[in-house]
Amino acid sequence: MAHPLPTSIDETLKLLSAGSYVADRSLATVIFLALRMGRPILLEGEAGVGKTEIAKVLSSVLGRKLIRLQCYEGLDVSSAVYEWNYAGQMMAIRMAEAAGGVDRGRLEEDVFSERYLVKRPLLQALAPDVNGAPVLLIDELDRTDEAFEAFLLEVLSDNQVTIPELGVIKADHPPIVIVTSNRTREIHDALKRRCLYHWVGYPNAERELQILKAKAPKAPARLSREIVNFVQAIRAQDLFKAPGVAETLDWASALVELDAVALDPAIVSDTLGVLLKYQDDIQKMQGSRVKAILDEAKAAANAKA
């Protein structure tokens, strides 16, 4: 069932929290603007801070279809926008031949018609939908090459796709477009210009605790507080890759599975691999460093409790 678009920033915040996404006001502002102005959002940020999740939550709370285009190197028009049904086309040509009297112009028109068009995600997103325009998630755009960004420009700015053999296909209602990037390369200015930009950072302790409560309700309150304080402290360390929110949630559920009620150095050392994904980082944190950070985190948790 389609849900109407929010009419204020506060309503956007409420909507997101209904989908159990704890957003800060700045993110809600950007989403609200994008929804009202019909502009795409470009979300950048480290891996695991909840960029992709925003699209999923939006599609579920607004009751829209989610169309996801996962980018990879070498992604091209035929797998992202459209492809022709070649077998069908060849069949049509042979049939026309068998029937005799081939009219060249008509044959070309027949063969390159919508009947033989295979729609890929970008084109699907332009099609009308009873539940309202779909949410189009273009995930990890930085994984493709620059050539692919060029295909996107037309969709993002004019909500249309030009197929040389067929003409222009335009959406009546623009889809809600969310583009994410991990910044493994810079996205071209031409594409950025068409989007509203937001940097999704690591949450502060208070918000991370809310996220943990919403997403891992099974974790005891005291443990949650310690986890959040520990993760916040470890992010301040000189690490190659600081843990994201996704890692915090994974760690929390791992600790719940291990029936931990509080953090201690042994259990932290054993489960550090859930939080840190580089061997250098894990080595750096083993032993006394873990204990020092843990003591700090516990003191902070107790002070608040």
Binding site: D76, L107, T184
Partner: protein, 410 residues
């Protein structure tokens, strides 16, 4: 604002203020076009802002297109919309109920503040009284840097020099210079059938027969990341190397350049400028630690942390241009070199400090770094672009094995 402006008259002041603000941002180095100003007006209209924070994030969403620009934006916003009354007036025109705006806490001045302040100082027609802000600027401009920094003037390029550089670059084939990409291009004898092209060609002939068109995987040169040492011991070569990188930036699509002495600076944008003199002048203005000391390990650490994932992602070749004379701890250097080596496709070390033939890898820093490079390219008597290009060329790959140098020194 002219008649084409979509904003009604009662917000004319707002439009004007936003236009001024956009100009200030542009001066501070944010790429803000006239399109963004219209977007910003539309966004402010749409958002019907209730608080200062909402106003901030609304403009932020439109004007900021890069995470690095957030700081500049914040400072510019804080200074520009300083008089709270101004924002409150805007808010009151936008919404019936005006919640009290929050007091912002004072922050430590930083580099972005300076840039934003300088940009606003340059405004010829500021939309609000200036005395109040003037005070603040004077405080900000006195922020001193502890490091001893110096600028550098490069001699202008001669036409002959530029021509020679372009010719040399045109012939340059780096080792490992073609990478297969996952994109297909038409090829007469390609291994795969291009159905789409086959069908279109066949229809052109009336669909009588289908002649198969073929395609193959495309190749392209990998991105190049140049890390260039600009410390005192390398001062003689800096100009030549920068010119080299500039010519390469001009000729290829993806070249990223970082300069380091005691700190790391990304000068990629500066080198994109077409004219070599202009590019070098821009570099010179951006970098503050010319001809000073070297902290290779520290700078590499910074590069690995902040940039490696952003520029080495697509199989980049790293050109590491340094003499390897390092005073910092050697253990850090080993770790950082190892990390760099593992994050790139090929690590090529160019060492220009070999004025005699009997070079041996004895210096501690050099010994620490050698095991972690793919190629070690010493340059005798680096005088011209040709020598540099020759030293880098693919043919020399066999002699460039770093193990050879280590064995010799052992």
């Amino acid at each position: 604002m002219d008649a084409a402006d979509p904003i009604p008259d009662d917000t004319g002041k707002l439009a004007e203020n936003i236009a001024y603000f956009a100009r200030a941002l542009r001066e501070a180095g944010l790429p803000v076009g006239p399109g963004s100003v219209l977007d910003a007006l539309a966004a402010v209209e749409t958002a019907r802002i209730g608080t200062r924070a909402d106003f901030y994030w609304t403009l932020h969403a439109v004007f900021v297109k890069k995470h690095e620009h957030s700081d500049v934006f914040e400072q510019a916003f804080r200074i520009f919309w300083r008089r709270r009354a101004l924002i409150e007036k805007i808010i009151s025109t936008m919404s019936p109920a005006t919640p009290p705006s929050r007091d912002e806490k004072e922050r430590k001045p930083d580099a972005a503040a300076l840039r934003a302040a300088q940009a606003l100082l340059k405004q010829d027609k500021p939309p609000e009284p200036q005395e109040e802000r003037q005070e603040e600027f004077s405080a900000r401009l006195t922020v001193s840097e502890r490091e001893i920094l110096q600028g550098k003037d490069f001699a202008q390029m001669t036409a002959e020099e530029i021509g020679r550089a372009q010719r040399a670059i045109a012939t340059l084939r780096l080792p490992d210079d073609r990478t297969l990409i996952r994109r297909m291009i038409p090829a007469a004898r390609g291994p795969r059938i291009d159905l789409r092209r086959s069908l279109r060609q066949s229809l052109r002939g009336g669909g009588a027969g289908i002649e198969l068109a073929r395609m193959e995987q495309a190749t392209r040169p990998p991105p190049v990341v140049a890390l260039c040492d600009i410390s005192g011991s390398m001062a003689d070569y800096t100009r030549l190397f920068l010119h080299f990188v500039h010519a390469m930036t001009d000729a290829r699509r993806r070249v990223y350049t970082f300069l380091f002495g005691t700190r790391l600076t990304n000068v990629t944008r500066a080198l994109k400028s077409r004219d070599p003199d202009e590019a070098l002048a821009l570099c010179s203005a951006q970098v503050q630690d010319w001809s000073g000391g070297t902290r290779i390990a520290t700078c590499l650490h910074q590069f690995n942390r902040e940039w490696s994932r952003r520029v080495l992602g697509q199989g980049a070749v790293v050109l590491f241009f340094t003499d390897g004379l390092e005073r910092d701890g050697v253990t850090d250097l080993t770790t950082e070199m190892d990390r760099l080596h593992r994050s790139c496709r090929r690590l090529v070390w160019l060492n220009p400090l070999l004025r005699y033939d009997g070079f041996e890898a004895r210096a501690q820093g050099i010994r620490a770094m050698l095991p972690h490079v793919d190629e070690f390219r010493p340059i005798h008597n680096l005088q011209s672009m040709e020598t540099l290009v020759k030293a880098l060329a693919a043919e020399g790959s066999m002699d460039a094995d770093p193990r050879r140098w280590l064995r010799k020194a052992a």
